[in-house]
């Protein structure tokens, strides 16, 4: 039946038909994008730093893993809904504030503890800044030239954006950007390791592969990176070529690991802005009333979405009383379960739940 329908359908001329899969399409487009950007950035490949070509290959391998992981993830029914509606609601008044709080200042981690916030800020911003320096250098989007002796031109995407004295503040910050971020990351990772060794709660849950491996990789990347500077400045470049290969190896391993372990939360975290917008927007539109106690507990849209997702997963929670379990507020849903156990309709007794917080 389906095959018949497909035959009768008119062939749709869409760019999507040109690719075997979403993966192939994403890979092709992003490699093309990188190629074009590099073409522009390096002024038609006249300023390529071939010393960094290993990172270029590493990045493309990373993209393979990244798309594999994230396309599979995006196909899950709840994820699909969240991404689709999140993009639709992207331009809300509160989006800039939410984005800054969730992705830049990590306010929610502050609420989990100041120590944890500090370590996350150091590692997070250390990595972000390092990426902002490394990738433009690798793909030739940023490079330096010197016309006059003692004056550097900073070239971004083929455009000369500023000329700075070679021993000035900006120039020194640029030379040392990766050293500064390395120190930030090392400090952050040390704080994390200290917490993971000392804190009993962390010790109960952590696993080597999930919690320690990414930390060890970040530490290796930062230390070998700093070692490069050290060898250049104090050892007359002794052993620098070997160290540069070791550093390259650590960075590429980290990149390949990234989509599959704990670090996968980096590219994935912007979803929390989608989720916040989703809850705010549909919460303003209409709220769902609990079928038992009539308190408004969630937006109608989210309630419907969750019911749909459960149906897609073949989970049916329709009750004899004529409601779906997702239509009850949380306390009523718990009391309804007690009612199912005992045979007495606990959820219909108008008494607020109490003494649930183990505070005596």
């Amino acid at each position: 039946m389906q095959a018949k329908a497909a035959v009768n359908e008119k062939p749709v001329h869409s760019i999507n038909n040109a690719f075997a899969s979403k993966f192939a399409k994403s890979m092709f487009l992003s490699v093309c994008g990188l190629f074009i950007l590099s073409f522009i950035g390096t002024r038609m490949f006249t300023h390529v730093d071939l010393n960094l070509y290993g990172y270029m290959v590493g990045t493309i391998v990373f993209l393979g893993g990244f798309f594999y992981r994230f396309i599979a993830w995006g196909e899950r029914p709840p994820t699909k809904i969240m991404i689709k509606k999140g993009i639709k609601l992207l331009f809300r008044k509160s989006t800039p504030q939410t984005t800054v709080e969730h992705l830049a200042t990590y306010r929610f981690i502050w609420n989990r503890g100041i120590y944890r916030w500090t370590q996350h800020l150091l590692i997070g911003w250390g990595c972000i800044l390092a990426c902002c320096v490394t990738f433009p250098l690798v793909f030739g989007w940023m490079y330096f030239t010197m016309d006059d002796n003692g004056m550097y031109n900073i070239i971004l995407f083929g455009l000369q954006i500023m000329t700075v004295p070679a021993n000035g503040i900006i120039a020194n910050l640029s030379y040392n950007a990766l050293n500064i971020t390395a120190v930030m990351v090392i400090a952050g990772v040390c704080m994390v390791l200290y917490r993971r060794f000392k804190n009993m709660q962390a010790r109960a849950e952590q696993k080597f592969m999930y919690d320690f491996l990414p930390l060890i990789m970040l530490l290796l990347v930062s230390i070998t990176g700093l070692a490069l500077t050290f060898l250049n400045m104090f050892m007359d470049g002794e052993g620098q070529p070997a160290m540069s290969l070791i550093h390259q190896w650590t960075v590429i391993i980290t990149l390949i690991y990234l989509p599959f372990g704990k670090l996968a939360h980096i590219p994935f975290r912007p979803m929390s802005v989608f989720a916040k917008n989703y809850r705010e927007h549909y919460g303003e539109q209409s709220m769902k009333k609990c079928k038992v106690c009539e308190t408004e507990f969630v937006s109608t849209e989210q309630s419907n979405d969750v019911v749909d997702v459960l149906h897609v997963n073949d989970i049916q929670f329709e009750m004899e009383e004529g409601f779906h379990l997702a239509e009850l507020c949380l306390p009523c849903r718990r009391k309804y379960r007690i009612a199912q156990f005992s045979g007495f309709p606990t959820h219909e007794v108008k008494v607020k739940e109490a003494n649930q917080n183990a505070k005596g």
Binding site: W73, R76, P78, T79, I81, M82, I83, H102, F108, I109, N111, R112, M200, Q201, A202, R203, A204, E205, K262, H265, F268, R269, M271, S272, F274, A275, K276, Y278, R279, V298, Q302, S303, D305, V306, V309, L310, N313, I315, L325, L328, L330, P331, C332, R333, R334, R337, I338, Q340, F341, S342, G343, F344, T346, V349, V351, E353, N355, Q356, N357, A358
Partner: protein, 186 residues
């Protein structure tokens, strides 16, 4: 090591809330309890029953999570949200048939019973079961649960538990014999 399960004999509950207090002390729970104790008929009598995550075999919370933050441990325990993955959408709280997951708005994080995974993965009973003074919460092997089943057979070919849950769960629940009119011998 034989696999053990959490097994609830609901009618034994005396409402002491030891399980709530014990839950706060589990590693990773940050001194907040993740289980509940309810009065069955609060204005009439003192019968209480505990309620905690029943660790569904096909958990609705994990199915509805857009972030894959709720992982299922190899022992079958449905774990609390991974702190770095949870995006705070609260789909899990809406999906859970028993209303178990709790949400911390400040931390933008869901937390739920993880069956004290640091203990149970090594065969040690979860905090709640290890403190329960009335044998409401027990930590038993499948064989022992099978024996209980026969002890409370209701003569209708069904073990009453199966009627009250939405799907197969890793935690086994026994319905109160008192309310079913079945005399229970301790």
């Amino acid at each position: 090591m034989t696999k053990k399960r959490l097994y609830l004999e609901l009618e034994n509950c005396i409402g002491c809330r030891s399980c709530l207090a014990a839950c706060t002390q589990c590693g990773g729970h940050e001194e907040r309890n993740r289980n509940y104790v309810y009065d069955v008929n609060p204005l009439v009598n003192r019968q209480t029953m505990p309620l905690m995550c029943l660790h569904c075999v096909n958990p609705a919370c994990a199915r509805s999570c857009p972030a894959q933050a709720i992982q299922i441990h190899e022992t079958g325990a449905v774990l609390s949200a991974l702190v770095e993955k949870c995006i705070g959408c609260q789909n899990c709280t809406i999906a859970c048939p028993y209303g178990i997951p709790k949400f911390d708005t400040e931390q933008n994080l869901m937390y739920k019973c993880d069956l004290c995974i640091d203990r149970t993965k090594d065969g040690i009973p979860p905090m709640c079961a290890s403190v329960c003074p009335s044998n409401t919460l027990q930590w038993l092997t499948d064989e022992e649960i099978e024996n209980k089943k026969q002890q409370f057979n209701l003569d209708n070919g069904k073990w009453v538990t199966s009627m009250a849950l939405e799907g197969e769960t890793n935690v086994k629940v026994n319905l109160p014999g008192i309310l079913q009119g079945v005399t229970k011998l301790f």
